[in-house]
Symmetry: C2
Subunit: 221 residues, 2 copies
């Protein structure tokens, strides 16, 4: 199993606790987008891959990244893709990994977040969107193609949401607190605030893309 | 013009600065969802309407809300709708307002945020989704029906994103930094990181729902 971790430019307040506490304990390769590379270097991790326009960081920091990282891809600020898209595409070309864990991609600017949320519909991500997992302090997101699945409760998370990102057919959620049977929709819908009864939930759907989101409240836990 | 402000239960770190600094200067009625009501009371605002299951706040605080607010709608925790949906629907029944400003609805739990983002597709919001504006410290979101529009740059915001929440036809963006001409998509897409050249941008589309998101980076401004 090849695992690649990618740190995007989102606010560090939203990073998961295990990454904040012991970033070097996280297995796998590391790639950084833009100032994500600085955070990694400042916390003892040398990125295996650095991507970005680097327009938001100063000359000295840019030189630090160039001197430390072997594989740097610099792009002009005026480009068609976000840094997030570029780093995921380049990382997939380079590693063809089994799992991509994306940090810093779910908070901050909502237009950026929605690029990430809707990437299953971008044909360049068609081959690997279901290997991508966004992880933050209070939310994780995975994308699923039509099929039958088992999802396991993550430690620290309390709720689970099943989100049809567009039309979806025959979505069934079996052994959760709130069940769903052969649900169809021609538009996006978020089935929020479901919960695990046991530590696993079985679900299935026949067409569309479903985002599975585990979450917790920030205040209460 | 009747304006209603609604405070949802999202984390207070993400509230807009003017609301944090001088909440009482914001014109209009106030409605609170769940613990949003507590924040309002603690900051000198008596909600005109309080909605929620109130399961996340203790008995004393619940009694405070009941003693101060004339119009309290309490629901059981096991309900089909989120508190956010309920408070918007009840506020619209009560006030039939021209504008709904929603605070605390864009951060925190992503499954909840996506309920808010996708509400234009919920038939109960069909009559008024384009009167709703989500406002936070770093992002604002408005929803638009097919038509021709002018959007004005908001003070403090830097970027603008045009997001097709589902299929969209003939989306044109005229006088922005990045232009678009009669763009069609059969799936959701976020055109992120556009910018104002002047203080207005003209855009139009023929079918679908477009979310217009103004934003800024947290770190840099």
């Amino acid at each position: 199993m090849v695992r690649v971790n990618i740190l995007l430019g989102g606010p560090s307040e939203d990073y998961p606790q295990d990454f904040v506490d012991n970033p070097k304990d996280i297995p796998g390769y590391w790639a950084g987008a833009d100032r994500g590379n600085l955070y990694l270097l400042q916390h003892g991790i040398t990125p295996d891959l650095a991507v970005g326009d680097f327009d938001s960081i100063d000359q000295a920091d840019r030189e630090l990244i160039e001197s430390k990282v072997n594989d740097v891809h610099q792009y002009p600020p005026e480009k068609d893709d976000t840094d997030s898209e570029l780093v995921m595409l380049i990382a997939n070309d380079k590693y063809n990994a089994d799992e991509y864990y994306i940090y810093g991609g779910t908070s901050g600017r909502i237009d950026h977040f929605l690029v990430n949320l809707f990437l299953p519909f971008d044909e360049r991500f068609e081959s690997f969107f279901d290997k991508i997992k966004f992880v933050s302090n209070t939310n994780t997101i995975e994308f699923r193609r039509p099929g039958s699945y088992t999802v396991t409760k993550e430690e620290n998370m309390k709720y689970i949401g099943f989100v049809g990102l567009g039309a979806v057919d025959n979505l069934s959620i079996l052994d959760a607190k709130y069940k769903l049977s052969n649900f169809n929709s021609d538009h996006p819908i978020s089935w929020a605030s479901n919960e695990f009864v046991n530590d696993k939930i079985h679900y299935s759907f026949d067409s569309g893309v479903v985002a599975v989101i585990q979450s917790r409240d920030k205040k209460k836990d």
